[in-house]
């Protein structure tokens, strides 16, 4: 194993004359590159702005009469009626240099894939190629309005169609609804297609079966669509218990929601048999595609009898997570569900022209070109979906091609198995006996010393310079730790991560009490989440002036 720290230095290493980590207090509260940053409300004011308005819209100022700066929105020439806003809004402004510095300082308090391995299980934090960003900013994509006449947006429609083509090929499915805005929105789209299809045949079924290991979005989605949720039992391997499932199926079951590969990092071996059984009982199969990265280019969900599956473009197809979105969740559909897809959609006809199909034209279009009426369940969003994510995902797909995507799945699975087998001697790996994992390795907290938890291990991992794995999910494993390294990690990078993980696991087993107070080296120590929830402070309020000597900087540190 390679040396995890080439410099050789570690916190606590004796340095003649002083300890490097515990120097003197600083006046600012800053520690060199670790910079405290106040809120914009504390450093900005309502009279400052970082935007100049060239009201003439021209750079040639010589001899040109400049329109006057408008005095007030409520002046006599306004057409605002009695609705003018006269009171203060309270929005602070900063000049450009101050703004850039504020956000740059904030950015440095974030962990990110660009900084290192980000092994959040089920989140597929892979490298985000920068070509994607460049393409998304081309004026023909970034600067077009969703309601422009279709003759002026042919290229945008082609992007949607090319991406749809790839998604259908890669999944072996029949149709795709492109508009869902994220994974959970895609789940809702799929479940609503199922409900619409059942209603179309006059079949009012009430129950959706969801395994306990599912993402929380699955039961939340099905409940939102008006379904009752029941558990699907698991077998000792953590997979769906086919016999138990079969015995539960019946005329009240609308369908199942299954994640494959599952959140335990396992492929559902019986997926085809599950689908067949559900179909035989008159139900539909929803597959949560969050973990598609493990099988892209290797397995087509359509071959496994899946009726609907969302694809997180922000996972498998490398569009950035952006600190919590935007995502994009197109839903691929079987032939049985395709007519129920939400509007708008785009379709390429035999003449090669790409059409945008909206409410007005859906029926006639479908009849003319596909020989049957649309039975769309409606509309999920104002416009066409996440175009900015479509351009990025298509760029990524074209970069990899069919061969590269297959390699993506293989390397993702190899990296996860490498982590699993490198750590199973030191950590409890509850399903390691059942064979190889897919794209993520699952561990539990069995064997930790009393009083130490998965949370403590996670926080100690932060001190080692890593974002922790997914914690306490899936719920079926005690103190679960779900590690998804993805394919964009090198072997050397994995080796260092494994060494760090091994060391914190050993400390947790040995009862190293110091872990309870970790992290020590992050921009903040452990945050008091109980206080945040008990007395929520969700918006800034101007502080009441205090006695001298306890100003903002003294109170909050830094400034």
């Amino acid at each position: 194993m390679s040396n995890p720290n080439a410099s050789g230095w570690k916190p606590g290493t004796p340095v003649e004359g002083h300890n490097a980590m515990s120097g003197p207090d600083t006046t600012t509260g800053n520690r060199a590159l670790m910079l405290e940053e106040p809120l914009i409300f504390e450093i900005g004011d309502t009279e400052t702005t970082g935007v100049d308005f060239a009201f003439a819209g021209k750079l040639d100022l010589a001899g040109v009469e400049q329109p006057k700066m408008p005095t007030s929105a409520s002046d006599t020439t306004s057409r605002l009626g009695d609705f003018a806003r006269d009171g203060a809004i309270g929005l602070p402004g900063l000049t450009e240099p101050e703004t850039v510095r504020h956000y740059t300082r904030l950015s440095r308090q974030n962990y990110a894939i660009d900084l290192g391995l980000f092994p959040l299980g089920s989140c597929t934090m892979k490298h985000n190629p920068r070509l994607n960003e460049k393409v998304a900013r081309m004026p023909g994509f970034a600067d077009v309005h969703p309601l422009q006449p279709t003759s002026t947006v042919r290229g945008a429609l082609e992007v949607i169609n090319e991406l749809a083509f790839w998604l259908l090929k890669l999944t072996g499915m029949h149709g795709v609804a492109m508009s869902p805005k994220a994974g959970a929105h895609g789940e809702l789209c799929g479940i609503l297609c199922i409900r619409a299809a059942l209603e179309a045949r006059g079949d009012a079924r009430e129950v959706i079966l969801v395994p306990e290991s599912a993402h929380g979005t699955n039961p939340a989605t099905a409940a939102f669509a008006g379904y009752k949720i029941e558990d699907i039992p698991a077998n000792a391997d953590g997979r769906v218990d086919l016999d138990a499932l079969k015995s539960r199926l019946g005329p009240d079951v609308a369908g199942v929601m299954i994640t494959n590969p599952s959140t335990l990092g396992l492929f559902e071996r019986d997926m085809k048999a599950i689908s067949d059984a559900v179909h035989e009982a008159g139900g539909f199969v929803y597959c949560d595609g969050a973990n598609f990265n493990a099988i892209v280019g290797k397995v087509r969900p359509g071959d496994l009898g899946v009726d609907a599956m969302h694809i997180n473009l922000h996972k498998t197809f490398s569009t950035p997570h952006g600190g919590g979105g935007p995502g994009s969740g197109p839903v691929v559909l079987s032939e049985a569900l395709s007519p129920f897809a939400p509007l708008p959609y785009t379709a390429r006809t035999a003449d090669g022209v790409v059409h945008l199909v909206e409410e007005e034209s859906a029926d006639s279009f479908a009849e003319e070109h596909f020989g049957k009426r649309m039975q769309s369940f409606g509309r999920m969003t104002a416009f066409h979906g996440q175009m900015g994510m479509f351009t990025r995902a298509l760029t990524y797909i074209l970069s990899h091609g069919a061969d590269g995507l297959k390699q993506v799945a293989e390397d993702a699975v190899l990296n996860a198995n490498y982590v699993l087998r490198s750590l199973e001697d030191v950590l409890d790996a509850p399903f390691a006996h059942s064979g190889p994992c897919m794209h993520e390795a699952l561990f539990g907290d069995k064997g930790f010393a009393d009083g130490l938890s998965t949370l403590d291990l996670a926080k100690a991992l932060i001190d080692e310079g890593y974002h922790p794995m997914t914690m306490y999910f899936p719920l079926v494993v005690h103190g679960a730790m779900l590690v998804e390294p993805t394919e964009t990690e090198s072997k050397a990078g994995l080796d260092q991560f494994i060494a760090a993980f091994r060391s914190v696991a050993e400390r947790a087993k040995a009862g190293d009490e110091s872990m309870k107070a970790a992290p020590y080296y992050a921009p903040r120590r452990r945050l008091d989440e109980t206080q945040a929830a008990r007395k929520p402070v969700l918006a800034y309020e101007e502080a009441v002036p205090e006695a001298s000597g306890t100003g903002m900087a003294a109170k909050y540190g830094g400034g």
Binding site: L39, I40, F41, T46, E47, T49, G50, M69, A73, R79, R85, G90, L91, G93, E96, T99, D114, L120, N128, V144, H145, V153, G155, E162, A182, A184, H185, A220, F224, K272, V299, P320, G322, G325, P326, E359, F377, G378, R379, T381, A382, H384, L398, S399, G404, V413, G435, P436, H467, E487, T488, S490, G493, R524, L527, A533, P536, A539, Y540, Y556
Partner: protein
């Protein structure tokens, strides 16, 4: 393969470590019949960065960018100038490639930004609390309706939609309500100079959980929210105000200050750009703190760390799907974090002074445009009031007119026929939006082309 660091040597070494002879050994759980033996058929193989860029650029060039023509489209998406520093900041890897801030000690950048964003949105909307964003305005609108139903505890099922709510927003609400069994009372807009506030108020009754009003409305008119709020509250209903142009709130009163209980909207105008409809930014705020625990979506709150330093965390997550599963207030997980950052940076650059100047400039140019366009023979201005968007009656099918004007290189606006394909009597109306990016030359170009087309 430029994005894959493993070498063949690495792969062999790692396979040996995991005890596999080949990569196929790791896919043993996939039944043979489901495993593809070769590559997926009918797809090209990998390509160089240069080749991909060339392909994508060719597709990009098949679109007419807004900057390349006199441009007057609005109807829920507006073209504004976004300062260059906004895009620079959102491309910093620490923001761009971070995840939802589940580990707050190493996500203070995102969390503090979200706290600032929530505070900015709350103030802009005249509300107590805003969340950390939704997908877009239309989904935020639906989530607000669902929240009002929760507050009514299912006892009131009637949702009254203003006829002048964006038709796509109304369609999203109608689609979702089919599954929650809320009863949606809507109506097409009437082409009158002022919104039909009386008609709307007449539709509110004791069974109404909420009233949904767009402000300014789809025709650019400004409804009297205060009156509507009073009428709604008289019947025990909540007022949901929907705003699709946040710049307007630099000029017209905030919905929260006029009595709206929930204020939602599209934030795209500030910082995000047009992007052919997405990703956009759903804004969601409540007037009264007592409704916070009924809200959908993520909330960021202030707290302290173990050393007493101020810090931020995601909070009140017991409302959310990852804790509550089928009992959650919403199924939303991912939202629009990076768009929220773009909004927040742009709003910080503007500040109150800049926002007011921006709003005033939009309104000034819109007034010029309304005057000059309504002077064109055959064109009349519908609106009594407007901010930066108004409706023109053009005396012929506006949809065809828009297509004709594209031939002259002008993106003239959005026809009501495009938005309301099934409604009678709206065909001759054209929505025209004017922002600070519109020059007087653009306005004159549209006037000239209209004169020609309406001859």
């Amino acid at each position: 393969m430029r994005y894959l660091p493993l070498s063949d040597g690495d792969r062999a070494e790692m396979l040996a470590k995991v005890g596999a002879k080949s990569i196929d050994d790791l896919f043993v759980d996939v039944p043979q019949e489901a495993r593809l033996s070769g590559l997926v058929e009918g797809l090209p193989t990998h390509a160089s960065e240069m080749a991909v860029e060339k392909h994508m650029r060719a597709l990009s060039k098949k679109n007419l960018a807004a900057a390349d023509a006199p441009f007057f489209l609005g109807a829920g998406a507006y073209r504004h100038h976004v300062p260059a520093s906004v895009d620079h900041i959102i491309q910093r890897g620490e923001f761009l490639t971070a995840y939802t801030p589940y580990q707050p000690e190493i996500a203070q950048g995102t969390l503090q930004m979200l706290f600032e964003f929530q505070s900015q949105v709350a103030r802009l909307y005249g509300c107590a609390v805003a969340n950390a964003s939704m997908y877009d305005g239309s989904t935020a609108c639906w989530e607000a309706v669902a929240m009002a139903s929760r507050i009514a505890r299912g006892k009131k099922k009637k949702v009254v939609l203003s006829g002048a709510l964006h038709p796509h927003y109304a369609e999203v609400v109608r689609t979702m309500a089919k599954f929650t069994e809320d009863e949606i009372a809507g109506a097409p807009p009437s082409l009158t100079p002022r919104p039909d506030d009386d008609g709307l108020i007449a539709r509110i009754d004791e069974e109404t959980s909420c009233v949904v009003v767009q402000y300014p409305d789809i025709l650019g008119r400004i409804p009297d929210l205060k009156r509507i709020a009073e009428a709604a509250h008289d019947k025990g209903a909540l007022l949901i105000a929907v705003n699709t142009e946040p710049v307007a709130l630099g000029a017209i009163e905030a919905p929260g200050n006029l009595g709206a209980d929930i204020v939602v909207g599209e934030g795209q105008s500030i910082g995000v750009g047009l992007q052919f409809g997405g990703p956009y930014l759903g804004l969601f705020a409540v007037k009264d703190e007592k409704h916070v625990r009924m809200m959908p979506g993520r909330l960021c709150g202030e707290t302290v760390d173990a050393e007493g330093k101020r810090g931020y965390v995601l909070t009140l997550s017991t409302r959310e799907q990852h804790i509550r599963r089928e009992k959650a207030t919403s199924n939303i997980c991912t939202n629009s974090g990076l768009c929220a950052l773009a909004f927040s940076v742009h709003m910080t650059l503007l500040g109150e002074k800049g926002l007011r100047a921006l709003a005033a400039e939009n309104h000034r140019l819109a007034c010029i445009a309304a005057d000059r366009l309504s002077a064109v023979p055959g064109v009349t201005l519908l609106n009594a009031h407007f901010f930066n968007e108004f409706t023109l009656k053009v005396g012929r099918d506006a949809r065809a007119l828009v297509r004709d004007l594209v031939e002259k290189g002008i993106l003239a606006g959005v026809s009501l026929g495009r938005l309301y394909p099934d409604s009678e009597g709206l065909d001759d109306a054209l929505l025209v939006a004017v922002t600070e990016t519109t020059s007087e030359e653009d306005i004159d170009a549209l006037c000239g082309a209209l004169k020609e087309a309406l001859k």
